[in-house]
């Protein structure tokens, strides 16, 4: 018996998802269009014995989240573009030091202060490469209020499983939209626990996680003495700095990438609709995927074979699924609220086997189904023209 359907806002669903995932710490700084997440959690977290903090800025917010996570709490922050930029330094720290945490970025128009109340997908590459240095990251993109909830739970599970920061890339449309949803009950959810490493405290210095056995980091204040650092460290000796040993640096750098990419199949989730017989496909994510779906339905009603591929996991990029698209369809339309950020990735993955048509908007307006429909129409005209010639 699920919960009754009720009207829930996207940002509220993120907050409730975090509570359901076992998050007990939030630190953040008010910023449109993410603020409701902080507002809801300031009320909800203390009700469940958790802790809400409004910090002096986003730099402090992600710092406090890392501190709380190191102390054993599941922790998150929520922000939008300008704050996300400020957090990049410490997202890199969390990546390097392998601190599980969740960062929700409710994307708005940028760069800079940009369009504070309007949606955008301009941060997708920042989510991947915003912090300096080679690193891996996981980013999930909700397309609905229900997914704001479920993907926040999933983000916590992935962050615990792979000991990594996980980014939830919402946007102003999804975050501020109210939708009729039946949120899952706690017993319907899979929630990962932090746990302790499967070695005794005295042996902890001598063990090393492998890509197949990523040990949880013991909490500060537990029986394990840990050293956490943003320097290159020796993964075996309790994590002490080892900046003078290139082989150690190389091993760490490759491990940080492989612990994510080795599990790509488990991490990457893609929704495919009407792809069985599709000649043209739309690849769209987040709020734009809704417009893409409307356009696809329209095309199908016209008898035109159009499918939709919606990455739910944007990072690591679902390369395999997109490669496969290159064999399935002749054209892939990539509408996004930025200028080609993901279209480039698609182009790289299909490597010339399908034509990639990009369609970008950076005016703060959600791409409309009509715009995508026009591109579909062009594709089929072009096709018929070719056949006639």
């Amino acid at each position: 018996m699920p919960q009754p359907r009720r009207l829930v806002e996207g940002n509220e669903a993120v907050a409730e998802g975090a509570i359901a995932a076992g998050a007990r710490f939030f630190a953040g700084y008010p910023i449109t269009p993410s603020t409701e997440i902080a507002e809801v959690l300031s009320r909800r977290l203390p009700q469940v014995g958790g802790h809400f903090m409004q910090m002096e800025d986003e730099i402090a917010s992600i710092g406090a989240v890392i501190g709380a996570s190191l102390a054993g709490a599941k922790a998150l922050t929520a922000t939008s573009g300008p704050g996300f930029s400020l957090m990049q330094e410490s997202i890199g720290y969390a990546s390097m030091a392998q601190v599980p945490c969740v960062i929700v970025d409710v994307m708005r128009g940028g760069p800079s202060t940009g369009l504070p109340t309007e949606p955008s997908q301009g941060d997708v590459m920042q989510a991947r490469w915003g912090t300096h240095g080679e690193h891996s990251i996981i980013a999930l993109v909700p397309s609905s209020v229900a997914e704001c909830f479920t993907l926040t739970v999933e983000a916590f599970n992935l962050s615990e499983a792979y000991r990594t920061p996980v980014i939830v890339l919402s946007d102003a449309t999804i975050g501020h939209m109210r939708e009729a949803v039946a949120l899952p009950l706690p017993e319907e959810l899979r929630v990962a626990a932090r746990g302790e490493p499967d070695v005794a405290p005295e042996d902890y210095d001598e063990v090393m996680s492998t890509v197949d056995n990523i040990m949880p980091r013991p909490a500060l204040g537990s029986r394990y003495a840990v050293h956490v650092t943003g320097l290159v460290y020796d993964r075996r000796r309790g994590g002490v700095p080892a900046t003078g040993t290139p082989a150690v640096a190389d091993g760490l750098g490759r491990y940080l990438r492989e612990k994510i990419y080795h599990h790509q199949d488990a991490i990457c989730r893609v929704e495919e609709l009407e792809m069985e017989d599709a000649e043209v496909a739309i690849l769209a994510y987040g709020s734009v995927a809704r417009s893409a779906k409307a356009a696809m339905k329209w095309a199908r009603r016209q008898g035109v074979k159009v499918g939709l591929v919606r990455p739910i996991t944007l990072w690591p990029f679902p390369t395999e699924a997109v490669e496969h698209m290159g064999d399935q369809v002749r054209t892939i339309i990539v509408p996004e609220m930025n200028l080609r950020q993901i279209a480039w990735e698609v182009q790289a993955a299909v490597a010339g086997r399908a034509k990639v048509v990009d369609h970008g908007r950076v005016d703060g307006k959600l791409i409309r189904p009509e715009e995508i429909a026009a591109l579909i129409r062009d594709e089929f005209h072009y096709h018929h023209f070719e056949e006639m010639a």
Binding site: T117, H176, R178, A180, S287, A294, L366
Partner: protein, 217 residues
């Protein structure tokens, strides 16, 4: 192949835009409307103006109600527009789709100048005294938004009266529920009377833009 239109997207899709000034309870009215639609088992999406837009004088909230899955979440072809201020009427009444319904507060909005300058072809215009009724009958001008909801329910049938009443009971503080139930009834009766024919003396129907009896899709 034709461009997709609102009709094409979903025949059962009702796009409703509520507009007015800050402080009139536009957002609350939209929330109650959406709540009532959810309770009726329909798909619903609600959006509202944010940021500087919300802090200025104007206030706008939109609700999409559909029997099918709602993909595109924004209102582009409103079949019902409610205007509780002149500014809102001037901006949004003309955006209503042909055959649509524009409901406004007749004491706050003068429809004539706009209608003369830019005939609102194919629209059904209904002016009712929401604020006046709330003030005189309930002693609370602030309840005008709820009077409006009662009228909207009667005029459109897009939501059920009992679902709307339940939404009021669920969302509002207990001590003001009864007053607001009366407000719903007041709006409902006032709209019913208007629909039945000759307007009562204090209710004036503006028919300048009317070209037929077509209601919302």
């Amino acid at each position: 192949m034709a461009e997709p239109t609102a009709d094409d997207r979903a025949a059962t899709r009702h796009e409703i835009r509520l507009s007015g000034s800050g402080g009139q309870g536009i957002i609350l009215a939209a929330t109650l409307l959406a709540d009532a639609a959810v309770a009726s088992g329909r798909e619903v999406i609600g959006t509202q103006s944010y940021g500087p837009e919300a802090r200025g004088g104007a206030s706008k909230a939109e609700v999409i109600i559909s029997d099918d899955e709602i993909d595109f979440p924004e209102v582009t072809a409103p079949v019902i527009t409610v205007c509780l201020s002149q500014e809102a009427f001037d901006a949004y009444a003309p955006l209503t789709v042909p055959g649509g319904l524009v409901v406004y507060d007749e004491r706050l909005v003068t429809a004539q100048p706009l209608v003369k300058a830019q005939p609102l072809e194919g629209l059904r215009l209904v002016g009712l005294p929401f604020t006046f009724l709330a003030e005189t009958e309930l002693g609370k001008a602030i309840a005008a938004n709820i009077v409006m909801l009662g009228a909207l329910q009667q005029l459109t049938g897009v939501i059920r009266a009992d679902a709307l009443e339940d939404a009021v009971r669920r969302r509002l503080p207990a001590k003001i529920v009864e007053l607001n139930i009366r407000a719903l009834k007041l709006g409902h009766d006032c709209a019913a009377q208007t629909e039945r024919g000759p307007a009562a003396p204090r209710r004036r129907r503006v028919a300048a833009g009317r070209t037929g009896e077509s209601g919302p899709a």
